[in-house]
Symmetry: C2
């Protein structure tokens, strides 16, 4: 085989698949399957007072960004955050994935959450029986497992109006 | 050139760069530069009553997910959302990017926002002089321009306690 023939053939083959022209491997389907499998556990874990186990779906250095609280750093602190739900028997947190955009070992998920109290429960003052809203989670694949790395959410419900100022004395 | 030589050379070259082994092009640096340039406009646009122009940084079909409100769909509705800030003279919204993870034509940004009222302003009841919190934005590159496609945030500030129930008459 002549060098020129080898060169031209090889360069042609390489040019046809050079990295700049290669789209990132689309992991959306694989990521979506792993995300669906993980998220399907949330209603059972929350309603049976095992919400602390939800921390196992997060990366060790994950950050949780709850509304009206500072950011929670790391799986141990995330476990403590969710453990509070274990003290609210029968409350159920359900996730519904709407979109997953995967690229290689990372994926971004957009979804909707619903938090419900059992009819028999005595709720804290001002807390509605059902709350719901939207979230974005960034997932990463580590050692073959998809884990939540960054998680932020908020509620769709309007805040109650602030207390009216006390009437002026006269 | 013999067919077998051509085949083995070409297959070797292709195998060396097959898509499964090619990491996604890391666009983090380019995305970060575009995101920094876009975000740098927010304080000026908000404090000079041009907050509606912020909509130009969003994709036409973007979704905005504000706290305690339903999702806002599309650039026109996003423009109306930000236009409300034009009625609050001197209020300033500042963004501080903390991380950008880019893959090909998409990037996910995590950051911190601060919203301040001028000292001279009369704020609505219950609204603090400074509010701040965290956000995640998913950016997409369209026709060479980086645009916000999904945007969610919440506040770090604790909610005020609900109004105390009226004391029972006796």
């Amino acid at each position: 085989m002549r060098l020129s023939a080898w060169l031209s053939t090889t360069l042609f083959a390489l040019a046809a698949c050079r990295p700049a022209a290669t789209p990132p491997p689309d992991t959306s389907a694989a990521a979506r399957a792993a995300i669906d499998a993980a998220n399907a556990n949330w209603p059972r874990l929350t309603s049976t007072a095992h919400a602390d186990s939800i921390a196992d779906f997060y990366a060790a250095d994950a950050v949780l960004m709850p509304p009206n609280m500072p950011t929670v750093h790391g799986r141990d602190s995330i476990r403590a955050f969710f453990a509070v739900l274990n003290t609210l028997p029968g409350t159920t947190l359900t996730l519904r994935t709407e979109s997953v955009w995967g690229n290689g070992p990372a994926a971004t998920e957009l979804g909707h959450w619903t938090f419900t109290w059992p009819a028999s429960a005595t709720r804290p003052p001002g807390v509605p029986p059902v709350d719901s809203g939207k979230y974005i989670v960034r997932w990463v694949q580590q050692d073959g497992q998809w884990l939540m790395a960054q998680d932020i959410w908020n509620s769709d419900l309007a805040l109650p109006p602030p207390p009216a100022p006390a009437p002026a004395r006269r």
